[in-house]
Every structure is written in structure tokens, then in C-alpha cells.
Symmetry: C2
């Protein structure tokens, strides 16, 4: 069977930045033809399905500059150098919601935009939440929003949740009921 | 209440490319402080929950260069200039699966990575599939995969689906049963 893989022939690093790099590679296609691929390199990130009492979920609302609007999202953040994904999940949950979790279990891992980026999100399920002091990033401004699972379904179905990882998280959560 | 929005002060277009542009903006934060935002501009895309007979789903497996691996995904593609999202969904379904749909209904819209990109995906539900000639993009190589809804659940839960839009699509689909 013919390999379906694409092979890197050459490439240029266009930009090295704070949260991402941009690379443009020339590739050999499976049929021997040539093409180019634009690749946004991004560190892994975590997202947290934060289950509070009564099966409620903790979400955060924040302005997202690239989107140009405020979005309702699960708590999330980038894995910093030297951190495990689990450590990031514990830290981000505390920073963004003011809670820490007695249980933090990995659900799944996924690419957010595999057509142009290597970013993956590691999704966690946090349970046994206990109040814990909060320290936000200095350039993050967000509101904590607590919703029931019925509200989560309504917000997803009505189009009020417009973030991919959050839709995955909410529908995953609802599929378990 | 203090506005939570961030305001553009100045910016540079770093790269103008084939499927994306990269912009770096200086912004004013809600508290008056300054920061910078790296923004990957990307055209809207569509994804299609393609429901065949017996509630089966049509997926495609393709090598994704940025991810460096083959992924199982719903049919998807970029909205071309002059096209409506609905037209893109009809075209991509035909190109990638060899089927056209009698019914194509919008489910929802979401950002794939709102922390660094404006890319949105418009998710459609395709029903009433009928075989139709197939014309693939010359630099796309993909395999069609037909699965039952039980298989879809198993592939999602076991971590074999590793694409965000596809997980959203599958869990949305399962949540309706």
C-alpha cells in the first residue's frame, strides 16, 4: 500500500514568538508531487472539566482577542516548561476558579486545528473541589460562571458555547449521564 | 462594571500565506496595562456530521502534516472565497466521501483555538446521503471510513479520535440518541 505520509524536504522558521512559532515547510506528497505546509507550533495546553457539587460545572468567561469577543470556556492554559500536564491542570484550575481538586483524571487528548497547528489539548476531569486561594495571570481578566448540567446542555445546543474544547468537554460530560 | 475587552493599539502583519496570516498586535488591557497578542488569521471552515444508513457515520482518515500523524476526522474543509458555508459543506462532503446530501443543517459554530486564532468551524449535519462522483483536491490523500454509532463512541472514549471538531461532532451525535 502506498504510504499516505508527507515528507519534509526543506523549511523556514518565519517567526519565533511568545506563545507560538510559525514554520513554512516544503513537503513531498504521497504521489511524489510537491506542496507547502504552513505550521503553527504551539505548546500543549490543558482543559479542565471542573465538576462541582450537584454535578455543576465551573466555566470561565473571558475576552479572547483573536476572536474579538468574550467566550464561555472550561478553565484552560498552556503547559509551562518543566510542568507535567497534570501539574498545569491543577495550577490553572486554582488560578482561574479559586478551587483545587482532590481528583484529577485525564479524559483524552486532541489536536485543536491539525490542518495548520500541532497544538494539542489534554482534557482532565476534576472532582472533589475545595476552595483554595486564587492567583490570576497579570494579563488575564476572567469571570467564574457556575452552571448546572441542564444549563450546560442548553448553552451548548443554543450556540452560546462557541469554543471547541468546551463543546467537546460539555458533550463528553453529558454523554456520561 | 469595568470593560473586560482588550483594545488594539498597533500591530504588524508578520506573514501573509496560503491558508493563514500571522499578525502581532500591541493591546491595551482592561486595567490599562499593555500586552501583545499573536493572532493567526484563518478563513472559516466547515465540518460535517455525515449520517449514513442505520445511523452510521462517515469519517475520513488522512495524514496531517502539522500533527505528524494520520487522524480520523469528520469530512471538513476551508470556505473558499465566494462560497457560503453551506456550499462548502456540500462540496467537501462530495469531494471527501463521494456522497451528496439531501439535507444539510447547521448544528453550531465554534472557535478551534481562540487563544491564538480566529478560525471558526461551522458544523453541519448531513442526512439523506446519495452516491455522487468524487473529485479530491490534488494534494489531499484520504481514506473513507464508515462506522456505527457504537464504534464512534468506542473510538472517542478509547482516545482513537484525536481531533477536536470530530470529538465535538461525535459526542454531539451521541448526546442526541
Amino acid at each position: 500500500m502506498m504510504s499516505k505520509e508527507e515528507e519534509r524536504v526543506s523549511g523556514n522558521l518565519i517567526y519565533r514568538g511568545r506563545i507560538l512559532n510559525l514554520r513554512v515547510d516544503n513537503v513531498r506528497l504521497p504521489d511524489g508531487g510537491k506542496s507547502m505546509r504552513e505550521v503553527v507550533e504551539h505548546a500543549p495546553a490543558v482543559g479542565i472539566v471542573a465538576e462541582a457539587g450537584n454535578g455543576d460545572l465551573l466555566l470561565v468567561r473571558q475576552f479572547r482577542y483573536p476572536a474579538g469577543e468574550s467566550l464561555l470556556e472550561i478553565p484552560a492554559g498552556i503547559v509551562e516548561p518543566g510542568e507535567s500536564a497534570l501539574e498545569t491542570a491543577m495550577r490553572e484550575l486554582q488560578e482561574e476558579t479559586g478551587y483545587s481538586a482532590r481528583e484529577m483524571e485525564e479524559i483524552c487528548r486532541f489536536y485543536t486545528s491539525p490542518g495548520f497547528s500541532n497544538e494539542i489539548i489534554i482534557l482532565f476531569h476534576a472532582r472533589g473541589l475545595v476552595p483554595s486561594p486564587k492567583e490570576c495571570d497579570p494579563d488575564e481578566f476572567l469571570d467564574l460562571v457556575r452552571i448546572s448540567s441542564d444549563q450546560a446542555r442548553e448553552l451548548a445546543v443554543s450556540g452560546k458555547i462557541r469554543d471547541s474544547k468546551t463543546l467537546t468537554a460539555v458533550y463528553w460530560y453529558l454523554s456520561r449521564k
